[in-house]
Subunit: 255 residues, 6 copies
């Protein structure tokens, strides 16, 4: 039996607190059970050199953990003077995922910097980051609309991510906590749209392999989890939800 | 008039939330008005090389800000690959201050790592860090006592820090927020014990100088502020307060 | 029509040259069309600190490209003083993939360092690296057997990787070259065993999403490609093939 | 009794050798007893990016020690690849102190780089650096006047720094040498103007605290020491002394 | 007797494979016995900042070894985050040597990047690099001529390099392999033009010294070796040889 | 005519001030005209890892310039976070040169750290460094003898270095100052023993080549210069000179 009597196809208690930090254009605290991530979206009025003079915007993400977000204290990456491979993988994943549901042509030559800082970790920090970052980005674009800098929401669809895995005795689980994750033989992160299409699948079985059938079962669980996350995101976003996808149907230029 | 009708000799609303993060041995969220700092104290069962085989412990501190803790987003120090001079100054200050009220002979060859992570900044982040870190360290040592690893609290006295300054029109202020600090001509941080003695004074007037009389006025304000902070710390610590200073009076060895 | 009249479900011409560099315990040059990678496997008689005193071995991989392996010259990572996120992702992937088909308990406290150096790039460098690295590792372990340092081959199954993708007009392709890859809307790398099970799936659609049906079609293509690669690997390995999987069936200790 | 029969309120023998190195616009060797620091002031005809297009100048300082300036050889910071926290603190202090007595509006968009290189250390290297750097900066500005690049001396007042401390038996000392400093329980550096006002106070008692009375005694000693240093600076500067403070009284623009 | 019955005044078997990698403007694989180096010359249409707006070109070189080019695996310089002193010495030497036979005024504001990557090492990697890099550079310039970007070959003379040394028993040798080099008491690298003049001499006797007579003998051997290398270079270059030196005799401007 | 009426075969005024810095075991200030280098030799009672447990010592050198030793201020290498190729070449050269006249078997498992810090540069800093470092090392070993840690001087012969060059009009010069060096077409540094044998020759003609005859003339000049330097070294060393070479003739073990 899972902790908290959770059944195998259930996600943990998920809470999203909007406007968590006062300075960023968009900010949420997202909690997947005991995993807590601050997701801040900052708008900068220019793009990186490789994007200049194309009339388009850019979205990039950074991810970090406080040294004692985990059971054992980790050395700060600023002290080590370099960012680990794991951190780079995760922040590249978050950025790619967000860019897949945002129309870069619709918010001018601006950069959205998304910072996902894990203040407490208990498994699933990358999926919580993506799910929370999506809300922070919508809030930040909404502020641009309110400030009359753009007219339409550049976000084309919902976005959420969840982990699935297979335990050492072969059971498929949804939304693994740290304990479950460290005992699992297969670990997969799935990023999906509100329309139920795949954005990214990253599945790995370091000590084990998995069959095509197991893959299908895991993808089914992920699909259920993402739908639940979408509902929670919609509750927080309220009427701002209606603007999502509007650029997909319109031809207007950004102001 | 100051924001929130605060008079010149008053500190901001200060809140300390204990046990804020679940993994560290000691953890608090401290708020000085809109400045919010997570202070985590972690116990490691060994000391750095320069302290080995002396039968003593060590306390060291690290300080960082989330990129969007401030009005403008700052580049992460991990991305820059080095820690700034400002960060180094602050973390050296926090470490020195804590070591001045802890008897390093009383907790064996252990290191206390104190991490002060500013999640939202509005002036006074270093004084909030010291004041909160003190509470986190007491909580961490209390856990060592509960776990029967040491018998006495190695903390010898209370510790808190507050900023004082002089405005461009010559008025002395206690506990400056960001707006006040950026307009002040003199800026001073004062770290004091519960007994009212000085641990550290760092005063600087980059665009202005200050007289001996102005110095006295500022030190008087700081003294008042620190006394208020000590009261708040005591409320949070509850009966653990009684153990502070006990090593100063005893001769027992650490277990 | 694809370059070289290749049909959509065909891999490119694949060549593996064994014993390419004389110093390493195992060495091959692998070519996927115009993509050329030197894969060297080196045996070191100790393990990294986190693996010590467990009686087990370790396998780790590094990946790099010569500056002019690509159409535009890239700055050397040694000159930049840091390894890029892309490089880290790839070398972590190669290492994980190899460890999933090697029994770390069967070759003592040794590290296998696998170096995949791309001397000419035309798409699929990471899948060529994994496929070539597997052969280099088998050669290196075979040398340990010949030198009577271990008795059994610690490799438990075959391993190969191939890319699949979806073109902008919705066609699924196997083994994309650089031109195809840069025009594709979905890109996926699949790592599989000789038994046809999955080791790793990494699929991403930065500008597009993909459905469950498209996923199935791509996985089918990957399965065909991996089977072809296994045949080429077996030809090169000759009778050494028979030793693969032998540890999976035996209980003997490493000498 | 102190070394060299010095009484507690006396500074060491202080010598300033002007024009010590031939290339810099201003250069001195300053000696506080056995502490020897080369202070070079270099004029660059542009300012750092954050100061551009403001019509103002900038002053910045760097501080270093030769590896064997000390009793034990230190590893070069260039070999370590980073500057220590201690070095950063000192060079930030030197820069701030100099900027507080220079009118940045009076020498155009130029940077004064001040390099303080300790060739032999025996305590008080930062106070010797500030005191010597002041002279080097006046010499450099004097050269700008001679070269008819500016008309008035931008230096508004004298500047010197001295250390004070409290021994473990409670005696206050002026200008501690290395031996005294390493045994002291309180250590304070005081930077003052020729007018006797404070520019910076940095006092710390790592193993001990200090009372308000002790603070007053230390500040009184520092005041005496700075007055003596001002006299020595004036002797070296000769008639150039008369130009100090002239900008404070004039309204002319820099040429 | 030397390996392969080579006499003391003979170079090893030298092979140059042109057009080895397909992307670079000039590319060769050069082999000196078992030493194998890929030399790629890339043309970039701009010069580094210190060369801008002078109407001249620049040539720079980088040198690296694959980790397992040697008997023992070396740590990658990208992993260490810095380039070793040895690497820097060699790449500075290669760049200097090439610039001495190229007229920088004859190919516009372009940079030739020369990458020498040792894939297998057996002594003499720097002399093989220079000798091969020369051919790659001629090929790259020839491409510029074919593309009608320049009219004349900017190369003024041939260039090759060879090592000489003295064994511990006092015998002078030409073109030392790794084994010979590691046993030699004197080691010298000589870079010469096709005209038989010296471009660079670097001789060192770490455990031994050498006399003027020994120096003369070594220089004589080097002269013979360079002449042989020039013949091999000419064979590869074919009729392109005729263009070498043409700028030395002409006054035309680059187009 | 050369500056100071110096003829082409004359070295500049050379001055060596022994015991220049008080802490190092050996210390000199050496001046070649306006070039001034502090050479400190420090004894450490252990060797680097690659030399351990061989019963031998090690000598290594580091070289640096103060930022304003030159006409234009250079950025500190500690600020850049890395050591330049030029610095690395020079410090490797100094170390090699010293090791060629010291018997590493004669001073136990100790490291001699030689720091050459250029405080003022006017050409020839590397030759001044070698020539001064030799004296500092003899002084340091003499201190080991006085402290009864070793019995014999491990230095086997004298060592000095000088530069030679060819002007753009073809004249050979000895000991070039900065102005001469920047105008020369060929530049060569020669390191020789007291016995007149070569330790190291580094000659380069970046814009020009040189013939065998020119090489002979330059080597002749260098030989004269080194002899003069040896005389100056002997004067400073006084009766310590007699101990040089004694290990070359004895068989005693180090104490």
């Amino acid at each position: 039996m899972r902790k908290d009597q959770r059944s195998n196809n259930k996600i943990r208690q998920v809470t999203i607190t909007p406007d968590y930090i006062k300075h960023p254009e968009g900010s949420v605290l997202i909690e997947f059970g005991d995993t807590k991530v601050i997701c801040n979206a900052s708008i900068e009025d220019r793009v990186p050199p490789f994007m200049r003079n194309q009339g388009k915007g850019w979205i990039t993400a950074e991810y970090a953990m406080l040294p004692r977000a985990t059971q054992q204290r980790n050395i700060r990456e600023s002290s080590k003077g370099k960012v680990s491979g794991r951190t780079m993988e995760i922040q590249r994943l978050i950025g790619r995922a967000l860019r897949s549901v945002v129309d870069l042509n619709r918010f001018g030559e601006r950069t959205v910097w998304v910072d996902c800082d894990v203040i407490q970790a208990d498994g699933g920090t990358r999926t919580a980051s993506i799910t929370g970052a999506f809300v922070a980005v919508v809030l930040a674009f909404h502020k641009l609309i309110e400030d009359k800098k753009i007219k339409k929401m550049p976000v084309t669809d919902f976005l959420a991510a969840i982990s699935v895995g297979i335990t050492s005795d072969g059971t498929e689980l949804l939304d693994l906590d740290y304990q479950e994750d460290s005992e699992a033989s297969v670990d997969m992160n799935v990023v999906m749209t509100g329309e139920g299409e795949f954005i990214e699948i990253q599945g790995t079985g370091e000590e084990a392999t998995f069959t095509g059938d197991q893959l299908q079962t895991m993808l089914g669980l992920a699909n259920e989890g993402v739908k639940e996350l979408n509902i929670i995101q919609k509750t927080i976003l309220g009427e701002r939800v209606n603007r999502i996808g509007e650029t997909a149907q319109t031809k207007e230029d950004p102001s």
